[in-house]
């Protein structure tokens, strides 16, 4: 084990960790360039490297790209990847209050903690956890994804009608495209470009980044916000405040790791669950969505913990937990590493350096975030006359880059307009995105589970794992209302 750690510490490997982390963070930060794309682009570069070096590079790109999206999401409300749209909810309001640098510090620290917990879990517990992961069939995956959907209720609690309207639209859009179960086309209007559904990335770029272009242009403000830190000269993130978030950060990291391990659930579910948990525990839940640091801490930790978690089923079973992990799998196979329980024994000299590399990469992320935070946060004082065209160009590029179809650019623009008018009418688009992304997932797993029930497997919803998940679902559904119920009980007693 120590020998493998030394392999990781070879200068060439350290160099690639640094390069992978920096490039990964940039890829993650640019709208439309996702972690998935970043890993795919780097795979050919690893052909000529030894397996350990190549995999260290890919893992660094993967981890750093998942983090990079946070920076732009927080500072300019343009989530670089769909997963980082959660960072917008509390991060951007903080920036608007002039606490951009603090928000970056929070997301960096908590993401590093999340990433480390995910990576250490992978290092020590992968093989036994894999045995649990494979027990997750369609029914259990359905119930896990449902947990992500229940958070919509919490998000919309104060504006229930508008929240549900937004979510309903999301579910409707999720039905477009080829029905994966029957293979039939639904609501495509004969458009070839919609055969595989409304493309997710142009949709998210439109709803967030393009909308931001319109609202910035309409706001007539000179810049987003002059950071307080620029005035006072330091980030206002004290140790005391960090300690107050530590519990939530650790809990969210564990949630992220566990959800990452469950195949086909992913970062969206992990962030949603952590966010609603953080909000449930908070003394002032009404602050969530208005710039609450704890909310930002919970989603940042969960999002980065998913990386380590998703590599557990990938390395031990060959099951990719999400799109990026699927591409990573290709990278493993190209280096002759066939995933499976034997991977950790037969190819220890490649796998352990990869795991240590993932841990060191978290430190790189920490350095990028902490030292770069000062520079990044200046972006909010760039005059809007410069920033708006910049974002506009990247929204067009980002939506075009995925499939290289002009159709996607127009789609992005349409979503941008929809998002802008929704924002003006104070309809949050967060329930829309959650419903849009998770709706397709939930439908697919549910119908697959029904096919199994149809063939006589009636036990899949009543086995212990399913029953626990059903109980969790019910809890998540009613937990936002627990406070109201208590208050109501008190009142009726009095």
């Amino acid at each position: 084990m120590f020998e493998n750690f030394l392999t990781t510490l070879q200068p060439v490997n350290l160099m690639w960790i640094a390069i992978g982390s920096v490039v990964g963070a940039i890829i993650g930060a640019l709208p439309g360039l996702t972690a998935t794309m970043g890993v795919a682009l780097f795979i050919p570069l690893t052909f000529s490297m030894p397996a350990s070096t190549g995999l260290i590079l890919l893992a660094s790109v993967y981890a750093a790209a998942s983090f990079g999206g946070n920076i732009t999401a927080i500072l300019i409300k343009t989530p670089g990847t769909p997963d980082s749209f959660f960072m917008v909810m509390d991060g951007y309001p903080m920036t608007e209050k002039g606490q951009g640098q603090k928000a970056i510090a929070i997301t960096t620290v908590t993401a590093t903690i999340g990433g480390l917990i995910g990576a250490f879990t992978l290092l020590f517990l992968a093989p036994p956890l894999a045995k649990i992961a494979i027990k997750f069939g369609p029914a259990q995956t359905f119930l896990t994804s449902m947990l992500g959907i229940t958070i919509i209720i919490g998000l919309s609690k104060d504006v229930m009608l508008k929240g549900l309207l937004s979510a309903a639209l999301g579910f409707i859009f999720a039905t477009v495209g080829m029905d994966t179960i029957s293979g039939d086309l639904r609501f495509t209007g004969g458009l070839l470009e919609l055969y595989e559904g409304v493309p997710m990335i142009p949709c998210v770029i439109g709803l967030f980044c393009c909308t931001q272009v319109f609202s910035l242009a309409a706001s007539r403000k000179k810049q987003i916000a002059i950071p307080d830190e620029a005035v006072s000269g330091k980030a206002d993130f004290s140790l005391k405040e960090f300690m107050s978030m530590l519990k939530i950060t650790l809990e969210s990291s564990i949630i992220g790791t566990i959800v990452g391990i469950i195949p086909a659930a992913g970062s969206m579910v992990a962030c949603g669950l952590s966010y609603s948990e953080a909000r449930r525990q908070s003394k002032h839940p009404e602050e969530f969505g208005k710039g609450e640091p704890t909310g930002l801490a919970s989603v940042s930790a969960a999002n980065n913990a998913v990386v380590g978690g998703s590599l557990v089923p990938l390395l031990t079973l060959g099951i990719p937990g999400n799109g990026t992990a699927a591409v990573f799998l290709g990278g493993l196979i190209i280096h002759g590493l066939v995933p499976g329980p034997d991977l950790f024994t037969q190819h220890a000299n490649a796998v352990y350096p990869l795991l240590f590399g993932l841990i060191l990469c978290q430190l790189c992320i920490f350095i990028i975030g902490m030292y770069g935070g000062k520079i990044f946060s200046k972006v909010t004082s760039i005059p809007n006359s410069v920033l708006i065209p910049l974002i506009a160009v990247f929204t067009v590029l980002g939506s075009f880059a995925i499939r290289r179809l002009l159709f996607d650019v127009f789609l992005m623009l349409v979503f941008g307009l929809v998002g802008y008018y929704a924002e003006k009418s104070r309809i949050s688009m967060a329930p829309f995105v959650l419903a849009f992304i998770l709706g397709a997932l939930v439908e697919k797993h549910f119908r697959r589970a029904l096919l199994l029930v149809q063939s006589g497997n009636t036990g899949i919803f009543t086995n212990p794992i399913s029953l626990i998940l059903i109980a969790l679902n019910i809890f998540c559904l009613i937990s936002p209302f627990l406070g109201d119920i208590k208050a109501w009980l008190k009142r009726s007693k009095a």
Partner: protein, 341 residues
């Protein structure tokens, strides 16, 4: 300081703009190409002349076809002395990418990967599909992957016959994991069910790994996939193959009988073929064919492919033209007899 940052960003932006825009310009206006043919002939001598070649793949980055093409592309680069850039044009079950290849400029600077089931589209969706086998010139075949039926290692099912017998005793209880309701695997499964008068419950999954793990995890009884997809779990000893879909037994699974040997008259395999749009200069096709043939003989390439469980099967341009003609005729006959949609 601020100024430098802004300038740097704008520069980055402009370069990416250029990279983005050069693409559609190169792949549009197939109509103009006829007029340019004479010029193209003159240019053929200098081909590829260090100019970048785009290689279209109709599936997402990281998919099996994408990884195949990326591996081949890196060796083609050495043979052609120029860069070969893989472009993912995914969507529509591959139709978007294949249509893009068919419509791209036939000057040899756009090549692409065809997956043999793509030629079922012009038959089943004749009114909407915008290409046929005549829209392409195959350069050569890279991979042939036969269909493969697997069950859990401890399953009592050992052959297609066992599957049928079990289904007779327990109607509708056999669950078969496929990658879709209308894929060639599902068609093979439905043909078996129809011929023996039994019922299987097909459960479509998103990818082959997911489908095979459904069998490993005990969620489905059978997975109907391709040989290239099963090797990982086969090495683990968690699954056993019971039938392969190629006309002859597969070289890497010599003990597994074919569909035909088990009384199912149905061939199921997928070929991945490098191709250029129709009308490409024959000299250019020859240059590409020679480069591909050499790349596929490279021992380093062969080793990499074997490690990645890629079932190489090189066939030259002429034989691929014939193979696709035969497949087309066969599928048209099948369609006339029993449409698969």
């Amino acid at each position: 300081m601020k100024k430098i940052g802004v300038v740097l960003l704008s520069a980055l932006m402009l370069t990416s703009l250029l990279a983005g825009c050069s693409q559609p310009a190169a792949s549009s206006q197939p109509a103009e190409t006829k007029a340019a043919e004479t010029q193209a002939a003159a240019a053929a001598d200098a081909y590829p002349g260090g100019k970048n070649i785009d290689a279209i793949v109709a599936f997402a980055a990281g998919s099996a076809t994408d990884l195949n093409l990326r591996l081949l592309a890196s060796y083609l680069e050495d043979e052609l002395g120029t860069s070969v850039t893989v472009q993912n044009k995914e969507g529509g079950g591959g139709e978007i990418g294949w249509t893009a290849l068919a419509n791209s400029k036939n000057d040899g600077y756009t090549i692409g990967m065809l997956n043999s089931p793509c030629f079922q589209l012009p038959i089943s969706n004749a009114d909407t599909c915008k290409f046929t086998i005549d829209s392409f010139i195959p350069i050569g075949n890279m991979v042939t992957d036969p269909g493969c039926v697997v069950v859990a290692a401890d399953s009592e099912i050992n052959s297609l016959e066992d599957m049928v017998a079990y289904a007779k005793d327990h109607p509708g209880e056999i669950t078969v994991a496929t990658t879709g309701m209308k894929t060639s695997e599902a068609r093979a499964c439905n043909t078996l069910a129809a011929e023996r008068g039994v019922q299987f419950q097909i459960v479509p999954y998103d990818g082959s790994t997911e489908a095979i793990n459904a069998v490993v995890g005990g969620h489905c009884m059978v997975a109907w996939q391709n040989v290239g997809d099963i090797m990982t779990q086969l090495d683990q000893g968690t699954i056993k193959p019971i039938a392969v879909g190629s006309p002859e037994r597969s070289e890497i699974l010599p003990d597994v009988p074919t569909f035909a040997e088990q009384g199912l008259d149905f061939n199921q395999f997928s070929m991945r073929t490098l191709a250029v749009p129709a009308g490409t200069d024959p000299e250019i096709v020859k240059t590409l064919e020679a480069a591909m043939a050499k790349a596929m003989q490279n021992p380093e390439f062969i080793k990499k492919a074997e490690e990645s469980n890629i079932l190489l099967d090189y066939q030259d341009s002429a034989s691929m033209i014939q193979i696709y003609k035969d497949l087309d005729a066969q599928w048209r006959a099948e369609w006339a007899e029993r449409p698969w949609q």
